[in-house]
Amino acid sequence: MKKKYFSIFASFLVIAGMLSACSVEEETEVEEEEEFEAQTLTVEDMEYYTRFKDAGISINVYNWGEYISTGADEGTLNVNAEFTALTGIKVNYTNYATNEELYAKLKGGGATYDIIIPSDYMISKMIKENLIQKLDFGNIPNFKYIMENYRNQDYDPLNEYSVPYTWGTVGIIYDTTMIDMNEEDIDWDLLWNEDYADQILMFDNPRDAFAIAEIMCGYSLNTESEKELKEAAEKLKEQKSIVQGYVMDEIFDKMGAGEALIAPYYAGDALTIMDENEDLNFVVPKSGTNLFIDAMCIPTCAKQKEAAEMYINFMCEPDIAFSNIDYICYSTPHSAAFEMLDEETQNDPISYPDAELIASKSEVFVNLSDEANKLMQDLWTEMKSAEDENTNTLFVPVFLLVCIGIIIFVLVRRHIKNKKDIF
């Protein structure tokens, strides 16, 4: 009996907890709205944004996680709410974690999105497969703010499909307490340094991992030559024995907790970890790097193209672009937003490395041919699944034989037993 009372009491507790959580949520929502009315956003062309004011339109925005200013911190804008207030267009905002996930969603059909923000190589792949459509730049006057050197990149040579949103570089994040080296001396070969065996993390994504090997071999990041790809795979195989683990987002936790000493990482995220763990430092190696650009696009399946273009234009409003970049810590291709950053950030070698290095030593991914992609994937799987010495190659055939043997044995025994029963 006692037990019964206890469980009733426990369930009450749980329900009470849920209710209080709900009410807290409601409160914060109300707060947001109040705060939000207080803000005055200046846009150049008010009339442009009010075209769909009462049409009851909604758009589906599909973006990376943590990739827009949400107004959670004090003094920042809630970009999506601002957009709805200004234009009357409702924003359905959802997240994805990888370019490939986005691609699989669009390719599979069924889902409709009006705005997506893929990275460079994925944009060129989507252009090729007709998954995204040309933009009407007449509707995006704010494109004028996008800096010249981030336009017309190789993935979209005439810049017809995409409006750059953020960019960044890949570099090495390392623990300064254990690795005593000058910043100038740090290069990609640190990831191959046997002194730090088992303290090295590596990208768990063939494209990014191959890029590092390709830089070290002196090849283009977009090489499709079989010989060069194989050589890069050899390089990665050499590294395998000293790699602690192949990870992506876990780099964040593992480096932050001091689980590993060295890892390749993206500049923007590196800044966030360095805030948490002061021993870490980030360097963009001199021998070259991958420059990545994430840009806003409109899928072919979009239902509200004009409203989507309005959203893109809104994201390029100086105030909005600034609060986004301030929130996500990546680098901005937006000239006015860049001007609004404080001087320290503008000169930060991590977010805004030397322009010369970017111009001469960095390369943007473009999509590889299907054959090259497949080759890379195969080499990657082969590298990762390469067995150590103690292989049990005979295991599965022997195992299957044993299984079949047991089946036959049992069947024969049963047969004999049945015969005995008859007599």
Binding site: A104, A260, D378, T381, I406, V410
Partner: protein, 268 residues
């Protein structure tokens, strides 16, 4: 007749969410992008033989460990008083109330190089040992996550073994060793086979355990399939082919298992 009508919604459910997807897997495995018939993808699966071997091997080890740990535990459970039984069962089930990912994630902090286990060992002057990112860690993750699936079927069979059967065996001169192997074990066989199935099948197809505890260098079949859909080269056909081969392997192994259980308790 009326009872049959009640099962109709479930029938529809089964067709829409089990039969049709299975047929689609088969269709994808045997066709190209243009819908032409091909055996290319099935034969491509051959090159991943070593990954298949590793998955089967690790899953077998995990299953055996689960069985060895769970069998005595379930037996003790089934011989306890009713009240203690329900408390103990709840303790067994307790970890399952938590999210699967969270439980595996916790092992990452426990096993890490600066993790809790290594820190404790460090205090008495041992280590640090390389615990995470090894095959052992993957097996540990499997055993930890799937142990309740072994305990529950074993327990539910053993609790039905009548006490008088064991007493009779003792009266007729069986020592405790003989009672165990000639009376209790044969009677618990259905529980053993269904427990093995319930641990082996999820263990062989898991991908997140090897991702989190294996450090990405202990690829399993599950990782391989995931890579075909969310990896760099989007190839649902190869992914479907690998899944199909995996299903066939599981089917073969389950057929072997069924040879051991009484005829009326066949699982598949």
């Amino acid at each position: 007749m009326k009872l049959k009508a009640f099962s109709a919604p479930y029938l529809v459910w089964m067709i829409v969410f089990i039969v049709v997807p299975l047929l689609m897997v088969v269709y994808f495995a045997f066709t190209t992008d243009n819908g032409e018939f091909t055996l290319e993808y099935i034969s491509d699966v051959g090159q991943y033989a070593n990954i298949f071997m590793r998955s089967i091997w690790l899953a077998i080890i995990a299953t055996i460990i689960c069985l060895v740990v769970a069998y005595p535990l379930s037996y003790m459970l089934s011989r306890m008083s009713k009240h203690t039984q329900s408390t103990m069962l709840m303790i067994v089930m307790l970890p399952m109330w938590m999210n699967f990912l969270l439980r595996t994630y916790a092992w990452m902090t426990l096993l890490g190089n600066n993790g809790i286990i290594n820190q404790l060992l460090g205090m008495i002057g041992l280590g640090p040992f390389k615990l995470i990112n090894t095959e052992g860690a993957v097996v540990l993750g499997m055993v930890y996550n799937y142990l309740p699936f072994m305990i529950l079927p074993l327990y539910s069979v053993m609790v039905k073994i009548d006490k008088s059967v064991i007493e009779a065996a003792n009266d007729l001169g069986c020592n405790s060793f003989h009672t165990m192997f000639r009376v209790i074990f044969p009677l618990s066989l259905p529980g053993v086979t269904s427990g093995i199935t319930m641990v082996f099948v999820p263990a062989i197809s898991t991908f997140i355990i090897s991702r989190m505890l294996g450090g990405g260098s202990n690829l399993l079949i599950g990782d391989l399939i995931e890579m075909q859909f969310l990896g760099n080269s989007y190839n649902p056909h190869l992914g479907a082919a690998i899944s199909m081969v995996l299903m066939v392997i599981i089917l073969v192994i389950m057929t072997v298992m069924n040879q051991f259980s009484p005829d009326d308790q066949v699982l598949i």
